[in-house]
Amino acid sequence: MTTPLSEPAPAVLRPHAEDAYARELDALAKGDTLARPPRWNLSPQAVTTYLLGGRAADGTEITPKYIGPRRLIEVAVATLATDRALLLLGVPGTAKSWVSEHLAAAVSGDSTLLVQGTAGTSEESMRYGWNYAQLLAHGPSREALTSSPLMTAMAAGKVARIEELTRIPADVQDTLITILSEKTLPIPELGDEVQAVKGFTVIATANDRDRGVNDLSSALRRRFNTVVLPLPASAEDEVRIVSRRVEELGRTLELPDVPAAQQEIRRVVTVFRELRSGLTEDGRTKLKSPSGTLSPAEAISVLTGGIALAAHFGDGTLRPHDVAAGILGAVVKDPSADPVVWREYLETVVRSRDGWSGFYEACRELSA
């Protein structure tokens, strides 16, 4: 599960949070004099510091893991401290899983008790399964039982994580109700049960654009405190996030080297932010919002696509017409309503904006 710190870690592509930040966690734990809830590695205040950054008592610098509103992280930590389950909602690319992993690492020192929600997630992966060889050889017993991450977390009093909760079929989701309200997992085959130890709780993440997939029943919903993680608050933050990712992706995909023109990145981010928020950046004109998410992740893919276009078919520089088609595709998701939104935006905002005429022409050409 975890690599002993004394040995040099093998070149893991991506180490777990508790390993990658072991030094910070240790420093915080050493200097932490405040009261800790049962089986917590740190006090709630120290968990908050670990996520938002700051300094440990011995002066160790704690890097910020999440950059965003402080109060959200406080609500999340307070939720876990009241042994309630935490549901992190947000559009794709808002660091839900990232926050969940680090919370689990800080609270329990273990972020690996993870159930990845998919359409195929079965009840066994939420409760327990059987080792059939054992079962056939020795009959039903605790030894023949293979426990799920949830069951392990209950027994050990740790934080279990469920990713993409809304992708899990509704009947499987319902397994959680007993676990969260009774804090116990019955094993009728053995006439036995696993009772959760203090410190057990669940962090689930879900995409709030996916509500339609397998919407949470209100019975389950009621057992979670919900924290919605927002999109980046300022354009500068978002430009920074997008340009860094675009560069990284370009390297990974081994695209020919196209100077990712800052101007086009800024433009794409501006278009996305304006349409998403329904307001121009100068705050003077309100707009309709299209049905799509227009998350930073989509801006990244529009730009990566644009760079590929520019490199292979263009003149090697990212030009407005390289991104125009991608933007159109990202904005127009609903064929009846979105084109109107897009055309209104083009005609009322883009058209009259200084330095955007090339972009306007490129978009006009496409949507004509």
Partner: protein, 804 residues
Amino acid sequence: MNHGGARVVLLGVRHHGPGSARAVSAALSAFEPDRILIEGPADADPLIPLAGAEGMEPPVALLAYREQDPKVSAFWPFAGFSPEWIALRYAIERGIGVGFCDLPAAASLSQDTKAQARDRDRDRTGDGPDPIARLAEAAGYADAETWWEDVVEHRGGRSGPREGARQADGGDSLAAFDAIAEAMAAVREHEPTPERDALREAHMRSVLRAALAEGARRVAVVCGAYHVPALSGICDGREAQPPAQAADKALLAALPKQTKATATKLTWVPWTHSRLSYHSGYGAGIGSPGWYRHLFETDDHVTERWLASVARLLRDERHPVSSAHLIEATRLARALAALRGRPLPGLAELTEATVAVLCEGREEPLALIGRELVVGEDLGTVPGGVPTVPLAADLAREAKRLRVPRTATRKQYDLDLRNATDLERSKLFHRLGLLGVDWAVAVGSRSAGTFRESWDVTWEPLFEVRLVEAAVWGTTVQSAATAKALETAEQTETLGSLTVLVQRCLTADLPGAVDPLIAQVQNRAALDTDIADLATALPPLAGILRYGDVRGTRADGLRTVVHGIAVRIAIGLPPACVNVDDDAAHALAPSLAKVHAAIQTLDEPAIRDPWMRALRQVADLGGAGAHGLLAGRAARLLSDAGVLGAEAVAALMARALSRGGEPAGAAGWLEGLLAGSGLVLAHDKALLRLIDDWLAGLDADRFEHVVPLLRRTFATFTAPERRTIGERVAHLGAPDGASALAERSAPPTGVAADWFAAALPTVRLLLTGSPSHPGSPSHPGSPSHPGGAVSAEVAPTRKLEPAP
């Protein structure tokens, strides 16, 4: 100076702080003063008894204004949970001598005019350095409000404010104020005192000295915590720190003397919670009066009761909220408070718990909670006997200037807006209308011109009350109407009513309201997906833009807005015409025509071209989804505008009425083309010819198919219309121009003929410009002559027969 055993307690408070109010209440009971001094304009003393009068319900405000110029005014608001109000009521109920000790309003208004646009009142957010912010900073708080709440308002740990205050009775309740005074003194020691505050404190000290000189033995002073150090040590001879009596006298003597021009009046006016809050621009406001009221009025279980009222509100809005939700929300709020090291959950913790638990992550209900609970709309009342409010005084002055006497008998004013006085009168009436004081009611003008208005003017006693109520909006008719219009706009639902409001503000000449309203129209228009709504909004705005009006009002932002709306309509129109039912189509069709007319009068290519393209699209969509009525109407509008030639219209008609289409759609198309009236066919020869030619060109099969459709449309026309159309069709072949009159089939006879003959020379003169016309027939036909009675639906058949 020693006042022989007299005692003074200084109760330093936060204005509108509920914890301070409880503490003041406890301290007064413990100390039992024989004199209370309250921070407030000293010249308001005569108004104090009214505070205890029947019908006085906070929130109310003391209002001071210049008699000559009511725009120069200041408010001192009091909520039910303001410490000053508590002290005021305590004194009145027990018959204890009470007075205000701050600078007289007359003086502070003069100060204000000097130091324009600064917060006129209240030290906490005042012009000088913020000492409470310094204290909070020292205690590690980022926010002074939170610090004060934790340290002072929530004093008493987890047990809730009331219990806290109860524990703190007797000497303890006074000790708390001593602690505040000490902290404040420490801060102010190193801060220069702003000139304005020095002056105010000099006045407070002199009032306090006067009270002691009059023989008061136990004086309680309720003032902002900031002022406490400046007042301490007056009675026990330790006057080293505050300036001595002589210095104060010199300072106060420098105040400007009152003249007739600066004469100031004071009165009580009703106030509202929302005006106590920050959003209304009142400098020392509080963000959450509703929350403070809750803190003040709730004895125990503050957190639970607050969440319960949130739950009740959410349930009313059909958000399911169970008791289990409340339990968890309470736990979360407590855990958050503990995490942040606060003694009790504050509004921030409660709000976050509300979002995370009660609202399941959605922030949308917060706006509602904010409006209904956190601010909590409370409207105060004042008793009947309060002095005139400046708004009423302003109205009286205006009425006198414009010679509109206030009488209970009805009088009609016919105004000619080209006349300056009449124009002013009209503006006054319109403004009063916006304020809900319907002293003057517009009646239909006798003249058709836009420069005339008629008003019925009757004064009713009710209006006095309305003026007092409206005083909350402003001190002059103009400023009050402006504020009221803006507030109304906030609550307006549809774009249409918003544009009506813009129009009203333009006619009432309220430039201060027009620009923000236009900005709102723009925002609303941007979000409005209902084309019908946008279409209703455009024509009045275009009218204002095109013609301005006789009042000479200008609206600079209007052009952009009109353009924006027109472009949006043009973009949204084609999709809006597709897949609509008959009702919606019939509702949209007239606005289509109105928008078209508005755009034509504006005559600007930038909006005309997109509009024409949109119409063209709708017309082209005739057979493919767009409602027939709308497609037909679009074709007609395009044809009238000369964008579509006769052939193009004919092609569209052929397509719309072709066999593939639904019969109902085809009939609708025809109805749209004719705009629902046969009259147009009787007068528009080109259109008639178009239909006639198309009909004549059909083969027998198609004709049989089309006849029922035509019958259906033509049957909606009146009989005389059909008759006239029939006549017209019979003469379609005749050349135009002079033959217009020759079309009439048979000459009239008898008396009618003579009458017509007598009128003829004039008609001829009007039509041709020359008194006689040799070639004209002497007996023009009557349009309603029975000889021409051919029903419209058979007319095409007649035309067909000679051309098989």
